[in-house]
Symmetry: C2
């Protein structure tokens, strides 16, 4: 996938989108803006991580505050544990309980807003770090959704701005989280400067779905990097519990 | 077009969306919520009109404040006169200068947010009052955009909520503004309780594109209603200038 020339990057501050940002810059794209969203997620800490990474790469950073916009209040009938007081489920990312982390129409909302900003900024596309591992749980990370949303974005701004025909750039959509972690290491992304945990405490909990997935992928990528380049890489992220993920995986494969 | 059972209506407070709201209620839909947007438009007055109409019909009303979310600031590179200090153009709605009233990706942003709320509220569709007269200027009011955005909305929430397969309801998309004004009169919508003017002053200016279009359509509909039902209807809206629109039309037909 050739990287578009001028990009707006949707940056959550997590491993995937931060790697995407480093990747786009490494490939010579002009990233005109990184956009993050406060949608009342309890892991609001990720926004600080997003800001830090954008600053480090000298990229203009904008936080769209959907929380103060009234959207989160309007989502009060939603069952998502990310925006309500329900507990965030523990265990593997692929488990049924993770459905409680679905925020209604989240990606379409974020891509639409970032798309409008891309039109205003004269960018060619919006980039998002969705990957193959997201497909199972989140319908708005699947290729059919992304390509249709891209068509809508192009049609809705026909004659205005400089958007490409398919203006949503998703280089990881057919890649696994493992691949992204490996790419992060290749690009020398400081892993501890990314935030994944769905619980917004001092350190990563190590037990929620996204922590389990993060630990598993980083472990895989660190081993592969050692195999391929004979270089040992360390993850300096602090976890409350850095052993649980192996159990969770064992439990899943029983 | 059969009206979906449970609807979220995008309500600007203008003639089209207010008529749509009355129409949906008249046809027996359960309108679970009306959603309005503050996107920094200078005609913010329309939001008061939206609130008033929703209250009158006992429909829950939510204003999503994209202005305070930081979106409008992020649109600072946009050329739209609706969100910047550029003058709102005068003259007929169909003229080239009206392109200055295009807000980047406005409908996709509003439909995505209303779509998320519809999922949370268990509604079957989002309704919007786009009509055939909008197609020429606004790409995000065209049928190709709407049907593609509807597919994206359905795909992005597959398995969650109760959305229809084509969850954007646009009963006026192939109707003219004249038809909507006629429908408004049929439904006894108080015309002066709707706000169209792109300038947000005390009264409708009567000269901007949307005022000219409004006056023209209401005039047509009032005459048609008189012809068909022999009933005289009056528009109690106050205009700064209620004569200019005829000149603007004459100018156009020269």
């Amino acid at each position: 996938m050739t990287v578009p020339q001028k990009l707006v990057v949707v940056l959550s501050g997590g491993l995937d989108s931060t790697t995407l940002l480093y990747d786009a810059v490494a490939q010579g794209a002009d990233v005109v803006r990184a956009v993050s969203f406060n949608y009342g997620q309890r892991h609001k800490k990720e926004l600080d991580y997003a800001k830090q990474s954008a600053e480090k790469l000298s990229i203009k950073h904008t936080v769209i505050d959907l929380w103060s916009s009234g959207l989160t209040e309007a989502f009060s009938n939603s069952e998502s544990s990310l925006v309500t007081d329900t507990d965030v489920p523990e265990g593997h990312y692929g488990e049924e309980s993770m459905k409680a982390t679905v925020v209604p129409n989240r990606n379409m909302i974020m891509l639409s807003i970032a798309g409008g900003i891309a039109v205003a900024d004269g960018a060619n596309a919006v980039a998002t770090g969705v990957h193959a591992g997201d497909h199972f749980i989140y319908p708005d990370c699947r290729p059919a959704f992304i390509s249709t949303a891209a068509s809508a974005l192009a049609l809705g701004n026909d004659g205005f701005g400089s958007l490409d025909v398919a203006p949503i750039f998703t280089p990881y959509i057919f890649r696994s989280k493992n691949d992204i972690a490996f790419r992060a290491i290749e690009l020398d992304v400081p892993l501890h400067e990314t935030w994944s945990c769905y619980n917004g405490r001092e350190n990563h909990c190590g037990r929620c779905g996204t922590c389990v997935e993060r630990l598993e992928s980083i472990d895989w990528a660190v081993n592969k990097f050692l195999d391929e380049y004979n270089v040992e890489v360390e993850d300096h992220t602090m976890y409350e519990d850095d052993a649980y993920w192996r159990e969770a995986l064992k439990r899943e494969t029983v």
